[in-house]
């Protein structure tokens, strides 16, 4: 057959028509849509047997109970544990997104040894055996040279079996340099020690209080045990409890409070004393308590009445005297008043005078160790290990002064002064730090004046990080010995921050370890065994798990079943036995604190001429600012008035912005005596004119792309200010300058 153009065309047309009429196009259409409904690159989670595991969250000191939902061996959801004494089902956003940490890209998957220059991010994988023997060798060498005291250990906590293992190790090894990361707890411990003679944690009976006078404490911004605070705050809404929030910026707590009283930043102590003045003058105090259980009241009374009249306090604080008087009266007349301090989440210890002044208010209304008041909560004494045997090297090492100066003549009462460590290393006056271990902390990010901290770390020749995640400190370590993630390990969680009764929570493996990690407790035990001698003797346990089980004793069965051990019948001892001071009474004016000296505000860095503004960091529950950074979900919840792209917003009052010629969203250069950074302007009516505020928790250089490189780390702009009495960091801010960029 001859194929001409015409028959070819007919063939084409006929073919097209034929195909169109056949089922083929319909089948293809259908198939392609089915394909789009199950694209191979869109994951389909595997189904399986659902189960629940109870554990405890250790991402912050809050100690919430969690229930993890599992499908076969995968953890798929973290929920708050119902009927848990801390959180009763609720959970914060960080706790809720814990699985993103467990399975996330920031995990350190195997022991790593630095290759090339420190901080360059080049690592080689090494075996656990090699890693442990390398550490053992370094420590052994130092010990041999009699330099055991040059080993430091920064830990996020000093309570519970794991930190106690660190402490035990250092003791037998011979170094006094175990340093806990700072917080308001430090100041409170000191206050309790000096005023009540107690070695205890502060416990606050919020559930039974009905008038909360908060000196800037972020009750709903993450202060204390956050979920418990949220619950208490809601309970006050139901029962008519009142919250008075005193701070210069309208925080979420201030917004939720019944009354927000803006105050000149850093003058909280003066206000507390001014309130005391009215209470004393109008005899509104608890005379029974003052007369029977306190000491030094008369001196203190004279001091307060002399110096803190409402008018002079009004001048200092910027709060008018009628407000102060009314505030004092309503506080004293409330049936269950409670005063608390610790700015924001209580991330910095603050001025000791402020803490004692606030605590004295509680004493004035007889609110110590009483329902609805403040308790001195001793740590539950479940850790009773055999005494360690120290050899001569250890004894000599332990005799050395601490590098941070805690317990020294200058600061005899303070236990840990991490803020002083960089200076001590950088000045080189005492002795060098030859090795540093970091666990449960991320000092390179969380410590103020990051530059100085970095410089100090650079001087330490051997840094070991136990972090489960590639955080800033791990990035700058020589060796990373990754701990199991908190959902892969056992750990006891002693009394969460601020709880009025002791509780022991249990963190337990929810899933098998996902990577080649090791429990830090096991690493310490292995290390001790590798070093032999007294060290090995002091760590006779086969494993950390065995150690924990043995330590818990009869409680183990209960804690395994319930997820926590509580002391429901815990009651503070009678008043007569409450105070362990020399007088056996509550000390209103312990002479060590110099609290009878007239109020001097904490001198923050910077001069007024060059730095006309005040910069304050603020805490947000949506921005984890401690050792942990925000997982992706929590980052997603951050408002676009806080972070936009990689730019952080600085909050400024429209009035101040106007004076500086700054508009909403404009880029500006923020400078402080410590550093400078580019920020975006956010006009916020809720901030005091003259003040600017930046959030904590941003500006990470480590972790994953969801967190790193966004915003700035406010710690880079603020330097520590030593409290004259405690030596703790008392800085609440820094002077600053803001100019169009």
């Amino acid at each position: 057959m001859k194929i001409d153009r015409r028959s070819f065309l007919s063939f084409l047309l006929g073919g097209a028509a034929g195909t169109a009429l056949s089922p083929l196009p319909w089948k293809l259409t259908d198939d392609s849509s089915i394909w789009t409904q199950m694209w191979p690159w869109t994951p389909v989670p595997e189904d399986g047997e659902a189960s629940y595991v109870n554990s405890s969250c250790t991402l912050c000191p809050g100690g919430c109970g969690i229930t993890v939902r599992k499908i076969d061996d995968r953890a798929v959801k973290i929920e708050g544990m119902k009927r848990h004494p801390v959180n009763n089902g609720g959970l914060c956003s960080l706790g809720l997104s814990g699985l993103q940490l467990l399975y996330g890209p920031t995990r350190v998957k195997t022991p790593l040894k630095r290759v090339g220059k420190r901080g360059r991010g080049r690592w080689e994988k090494i075996s656990w055996k090699d890693a442990v023997s390398e550490v053992a060798k370094t420590l052994g060498d130092l010990r041999e040279k009699g330099q055991s005291h040059t080993v430091g250990f920064i830990s996020g906590s000093d309570r519970g079996t794991v930190p106690r293992l660190f402490e035990r190790f250092l003791t037998v090894y011979g170094s006094p340099n175990l340093i806990r990361t700072p917080s308001i707890i430090d100041s409170y411990e000191l206050a309790l020690h000096l005023m009540q003679g107690a070695q205890a944690l502060p416990g606050f009976d919020f559930e039974n209080a009905n008038f909360i006078l908060s000196f800037g404490s972020g009750i709903v911004d993450g202060w204390g045990s956050p979920v418990r605070m949220f619950r208490a705050n809601s309970a006050w809404r139901d029962t008519g409890g009142k919250v008075i929030q005193i701070e210069p910026r309208l925080s979420n707590t201030a917004a939720k409070s019944d009354k927000w009283i803006p105050i000149n930043p850093g003058t909280e102590a003066a206000l507390a004393l001014g309130i005391a003045h009215i209470i004393i003058k109008e005899s509104l105090y608890d005379a029974e308590f003052i007369n029977n259980y306190s000491e030094g009241f008369e001196d203190w009374k004279a001091f307060v009445l002399g110096e803190y009249g409402p008018d002079s306090v009004a001048t200092i604080t910027g709060i008018d005297s009628t407000t102060i008087i009314a505030l004092a009266r309503s506080f004293a007349r409330a049936s269950k008043p409670l005063a608390i301090c610790g700015r924001g989440q209580g991330t910095t210890p603050g001025s000791l005078n402020e803490c004692t002044a606030v605590h004295a208010l509680n004493a004035l209304v007889g609110n110590i160790n009483k329902k609805g008041g403040v308790f001195a909560v001793a740590e539950p004494d479940y850790i009773n290990w055999p005494e360690v045997e120290m050899d001569a090297t250890a004894a000599a090492g332990m005799q050395k002064n601490r590098l941070d100066g805690a317990g020294s003549k200058k600061y005899p009462f303070s236990r840990y002064l991490l803020n002083r460590l960089p200076q001590a290393i950088n000045s080189g006056k005492k002795y060098p730090l030859k090795a540093l271990f970091v666990a449960g902390a991320n000092p390179l990010y969380t410590m103020s004046d990051s530059k100085a901290v970095k410089k100090a770390f650079d001087k330490v020749p051997f840094i070991v990080s136990f972090s489960s995640y590639m955080d800033e400190t791990a990035q700058n370590a020589d060796l990373i010995l990754p701990n199991h993630n908190y959902l892969e390990r056992y750990e006891d969680i002693p009394t969460p921050a601020g709880m009025p009764q002791p509780v022991i929570g249990l963190s337990r493996p929810v899933v098998e370890p996902q990577f080649n990690t090791k429990h830090v407790g096991d690493v310490i035990i292995l290390l001790a065994k590798a070093m032999g001698g007294t060290l090995s003797d002091a760590f006779a346990w086969d494993s950390y798990d065995a150690c924990l089980k043995e330590t818990m004793g009869y409680k183990w069965q209960v804690i395994i079943e319930k997820g926590f051990w509580s002391y429901p019948d815990f009651v503070a001892g009678p008043r007569e036995e409450s105070f362990d001071t020399v007088s056996g009474k509550f000390e209103f004016a312990p002479k060590e604190t110099g609290s009878l000296k007239p109020f001097k505000p904490v001198k923050i860095e910077g001069d007024k001429t060059n730095y006309p503004l005040l910069l304050m960091p603020y805490d947000s529950i949506r921005l984890a600012n401690g050792a942990m950074g925000d997982p992706p979900f929590v980052m997603k919840s951050v408002d676009d008035t806080v972070l936009k792209g990689t730019d952080v917003f600085i909050e400024i009052n429209p009035k101040t912005a106007g004076e500086h010629g700054l508009r909403e969203g404009q880029l500006a250069m923020l400078s402080t005596p410590v550093g400078q950074a580019k920020v975006k302007v956010h006009l916020f009516d809720g901030i005091m004119p003259g003040l600017v505020a930046l959030p904590r928790g941003l500006g990470h250089t480590a972790y994953d792309e969801y967190l790193a490189g966004k915003g700035i780390n406010v710690n880079e702009l603020i330097g520590p200010v030593e409290d004259p009495v405690s030596g703790l960091d008392a800085a609440w801010g820094v002077r600053a300058k803001l100019a169009k960029a």
Binding site: R6, T29, S32, S33, W35, T36, Q37
Partner: protein, 437 residues
């Protein structure tokens, strides 16, 4: 080179010039195709649309091309149903423009949806209560009608017409064109209306929401009306542009004048209706929802009351007055201005009924959100324009689109190479009186 394909009795530019022109416009087309492929393969993240702007430039383009494409149905309606015979001289072109507009709209829709391969679900799983379903059905059906109306023109190509089957097919289709046109008008009425309904039923958006008649909000009728009013203006505008480009008179004035006059009265009545609707909406509907007219035209850097004035007064009443007066529409410059304003007006209307709706906050604690399209959106919106120009160029070159052309532009010397078949006059005769044949 391609002279065998060129209709008799007309003169066309040399083939290389034609190819060059196609190549230039084709390059723009390819740019659009590239953007289209990006959107299909990488997804709609290629656009600047967002969760506040689910509808954006593309939906506007869709609404606008369908509105201006309304010239096809309305001219068809006048020509075949109301027997306005003068319009036979422009109906081919109106159909062609409509065909381009509607095929473009369908293409843009295919790019606009997030799951193009599932687009047919709108038919298969139709929700008959959704205005968009109505739009999809009527739009596709009416596109079918336009194809049916366009086919006979294609079949009149000199070479195709030689095939007896095609010759007869074209003839037969001409014969019953009134039936198709009537169906088309019916479908058009509904989908133009439904497009208005798309916005009008949004009772969650006070700016869009209109009360109405039974299930149809007033925008339903206003959209049909405005499309019928302004569509012919677009036909005239494109005709005028074509005449300018080809430097030839292609359509007799009678047809243009008639269309312009009808269009003028339609625009006038539409503008009055639109004013009444806006008035009622601004004074009754909006206040009942706790808002005022100016809420929609203030507190943002772009949308001011000017856009409402521009749409109704400047692009509504002014062209209407020009077109209804004999003096106005007879004046070439005024006619140009009038049709341009009318087309602009209907496009602005579609713009506000898509993009301004998205821009306005309804929740008291949200703010205005403005939007700029990405280059991919712009390229894919220009794509149909390029495609339209190419299709017009090809159709103009090879098909007897303008029956008046040989008459208005007599060629002194006939082309040397003569071919057999139909006499030009006969061809014209057939074109002129299809219904009587």
């Amino acid at each position: 080179m391609d002279s065998a394909l060129i209709p008799r009795g007309v003169k066309r530019c040399p083939f290389p010039q034609f190819i060059l022109f196609i190549a230039i416009v084709g390059a723009v087309l390819l740019w659009g195709v590239y953007a289209m492929l990006l959107c299909w393969f990488k997804g709609l993240n290629q656009t600047n649309m967002n969760d506040f702007y689910g509808f954006a430039l593309w939906i506007w383009a869709d609404l606008a091309v369908i509105a201006v494409g309304g010239g096809a149905f309305f001219t068809g309606l006048l020509r075949y149903i109301f027997g306005k015979d003068d319009l036979k001289n422009i109906i081919n072109y109106a159909v062609l423009i409509g065909f381009i507009c509607y095929s473009s709209a369908l293409l843009i829709l295919a790019i606009d949806i997030g799951q193009p391969l599932r687009g047919w679900f709108i038919f298969w799983h139709a929700n008959v209560h959704s205005m968009l379903t109505e739009v999809a059905f009527c739009l596709s059906c009416y596109f079918g009608v336009l194809t049916i109306e366009y086919i006979p023109l294609v079949l009149e190509n000199r070479q195709i017409n030689k095939v007896p089957f095609f010759h007869h097919l074209g003839h037969n289709m001409h014969e019953i064109m009134a039936v198709f046109a009537a169906t088309g008008a019916f479908l058009s009425f509904f989908h133009q209306g439904s497009l208005g309904g798309v916005a009008g039923v949004l009772y969650g958006r006070p700016f869009a929401y209109r009360e109405g008649l039974f299930i149809w909000p007033w925008t339903f009728f206003l959209f049909t009306w405005s499309a019928a009013a302004c569509g012919p203006c677009f036909t005239i505008l494109v005709t005028k542009i074509t005449e300018t480009v080809t430097r030839k008179k292609l359509v007799k004035d009678t047809a243009i004048q008639l269309l312009a006059k009808i269009s003028g009265w339609m625009i006038l009545t539409y503008s009055i209706a639109k004013t009444a609707d806006t008035w009622y909406w601004a004074t009754v509907t909006v206040p009942s929802l706790g808002q005022t007219l100016m809420d929609f035209y203030s507190n943002n850097p772009f949308y001011g009351i000017w856009i409402l004035i521009l749409e109704i007064a400047i692009c509504g009443f002014i062209p209407a007055f020009i077109l209804i007066t004999k003096k106005g529409r007879k004046n070439s410059a005024a006619l140009w201005i009038a049709v341009f304003l009318a087309v602009t007006g209907v496009c602005i209307n579609r713009w506000v009924m898509v993009l301004q709706i998205m821009a306005i906050p309804v929740l008291t604690f949200e703010n205005w959100v403005l939007y700029l399209p990405s280059w991919q959106e712009i390229a894919t919106t220009i794509l149909p324009l390029a495609y339209g120009v190419i299709l017009i160029a090809i159709s103009y070159r090879y098909l007897p689109v303008f029956p008046n052309e040989p008459e208005l532009n007599p060629i002194e010397t006939l082309p040397a190479e003569e071919e057999e078949a139909v006499e030009p006059s006969v061809e014209l005769e057939q074109e002129l009186k299809p219904a009587e044949a």
